[in-house]
Amino acid sequence: MAMADQPAGKSFRLSMLLYDTRYRSITIQVIMMLAFIASLVWLLDNMYTNLAKADKDPDFAFLSSSAGYDINQRLIEYSSQSTHARAWLVGLLNTLLVAFLGCILATVLGVSIGVMRLSKNWIVSRLMTVYVEAFRNVPVLLWIVFAMAIFIEEFPQPREFRGEDAAAAMYFWDSLALTNRGWYIPRPVFNDGSMVVVATFILAFIGTIFFGKWAKVRQETTGVILPTGWIKLAIVAVPTLVVFAFFSFTNGSREYSVVTTALAEGAELSTIDKPKVCVVSDTAQSVVLQELLRATGNKVKVAEFDTEAEARTAYQSGECNTIGVAMADLGSVEGVAATTYTHGNAILLEQPYLDGFNFKGGVHLRNSLIALWLALSLYTAAFIAEAVRAGIMAINKGQSEAAAALGLRQKRVMNLVVLPQALRVIIPPLISQYLNITKNSSLALAVGYMDVTGTLGGITLNQTGRALECILLLMITYLAISLTISTVMNLYNNSVKLKER
């Protein structure tokens, strides 16, 4: 029929671009595109002309010059002599860290709160309603500042931990210190054999995935359900623990002696006078030795070296008065051999300790990081909870009733029938919440967290005065992070969405 309307062989006329519906939409689109490009060109030209007028041509050379400022939280090597580009990278990693931690905590909290808000328990569901309304109706910046204020005002200062009757105390056998400068937690130190332990753990973990697949096939063919959770736990835990125990035992048989010139022959180690110890940096042996000396109640000074030989030379030249020596080498070093100690477990924990103005050792989680992380997570969790609730409520009640009629228990109805369908509804809004966390993390400067807005868009911008270049790079950075997150999440979304045949 359509063919009959078009006289065959009629030539194309220019007016058809406007009056023929076949071409009109294309014409409009081409015009729109040209207008868009023209306005873009006009804007860019405007920018360049005005910058040239102000004698500020866009120039990115500042990125390779030395930054000159220090950053407190560094996930990679950085000093004030590093370049501005390096500072940008340090900031970027800090942004990614808080965004990653935030996404995980917000998801866990959001899902639990969303499910609990649907609870039949009146008090629980009402409490969750209060939570959601309170958090999503107050600007996130206020939550961040509020969290920081609590950390600064409520937690003790490091110096309150000092002395016999200190006003503050550490938790969990002196391994956790909560101060108003952040939390200090133990740091894992990887000893000899630790790589084998980690490798065993990873292999066992992969093994559980294969086991899960096998159990599923078995269940579908025979109908027998295995307690997969417990078996998976055993598959991971048993070999890892065995390997850990083995290497801890072999390390334990390697003995060292504390050799010192600061102690009289035959005297107790606790009477040691102003110990200064030479150690090889970042080794388990040095951690064990330092903790041994600190346990005597003395203030221990530490000089760190790259190799055993350097530490030995420094000891012999008198730079320090104490050193740890393997039993076999004992004769070759001067000094009193006081106590012996062993090489330590395969993986051991370095505990934080008070030294000078601050705690040292362990991992320092700054309160800027914790405040930002908690505030972002609690705030976004309120939105995720609503998305989860919407997803669950979108599933027809008949679905769960039908499943219950088949004899499935409550938990299985949720896991096998409701959630797989609800995920289709939950994932798309979840993606935008993840993006929100990432973008809201740029409020970090309010609490002095050095994210990419704080380094590239803050101090670098200020010190170099390259506002336009820095902001452009910053925008590109956030765009790249956001696009990556949404691409990954969209892949996941495609895998859970309704499969239509």
């Binding site: 004698d55 400022y69 200062q157 030294d355 704080g454 200020n462 010190q463 506002a467």
Partner: protein, 338 residues
Amino acid sequence: MKKSVLLGTFAAVGVMAGAASAGTLDDVIANDVLKCGVSTGQAGFAAPDENGRWEGFDVAVCRAVAAAVLGDQDKVQYVPLSSKVRFTALSSGEIDMLSRATTWTLSRDADLGFTFLGVNYYDGQGFMVRKDLGVGSATELDGATICITTGTTTELNLADYFRSNGMSYEPVPIETSAEARGQYLSGACDVYTTDASALAAQRATFENGDEHMVLPEIISKEPLGPLVREGDEPWGDVVRWTLNAMIAAEELGINRGNLEELAKGTNNPEVNRFMGTEGNIGEMLGLEANWAVNVIAAVGNYGEAFEEHIGEETAIGLSRGLNAQWTQGGLMYSPPFR
């Protein structure tokens, strides 16, 4: 129809762009108000009093320029700026001049596109600590946590100082002096570092100011002064000579008390030129003949402004030191008014 609207818009944009590029002096006179960038609140230097009226040593420069150009020291619109946004505000034209304890450095002068117009306070970076910390010198600060205002020269000085002394520190970057105060007083940092004058100003506002002390080391030169955008010489001259007028007035012995009498004419030709009763220096700057009289009537001479806002009689309690007249062994020196 649509076309004409579009063209009209372009035309309007063109007109606006044209207006913005005229001289700042003409803009200020046309708007009858001076837009002056100041700090977000620094006792003694720039802070609103209980009536919401901005007062302080940096504010006095704003007032002086308004008095010189518009004849009324209150025709100023104060724009409080954090140290982070101050330069953007100035280069974008949001403010006409910046009088905000800003250090004159080569890179800011040459690379950022600003013109510094003199120094109204010679300062240096210092450290403040609690007395009970038992620290007597900055060289004992190895491992300390230090609160520092971000986006300032102090950040770079601090990094240099600790590196050259082989010490480590934990920087806590802070945006405003109010936040710094909160963190420092709650003990979230051991040390607060910024310009020594600002430390004195902060300490004056503490409840127990005597529990804190400023360490003897001054680790940098911080000449603070007003600045304007580069490439607008007539406007730069006005601000520069307004500041010089304050300094010269003290040297010439002109103050609020004897101003009226001296304005009637004296035997001293330099005083007469200053007062506008002789010569035409006001005209050269594009101002009224009695501009300098207005300046002194509004804020007093340099010494009067200093004593009123930050001098030894005030809570801030700063002595003149480097900021005395050159005749008194200080660095304050105005080029001649002729």
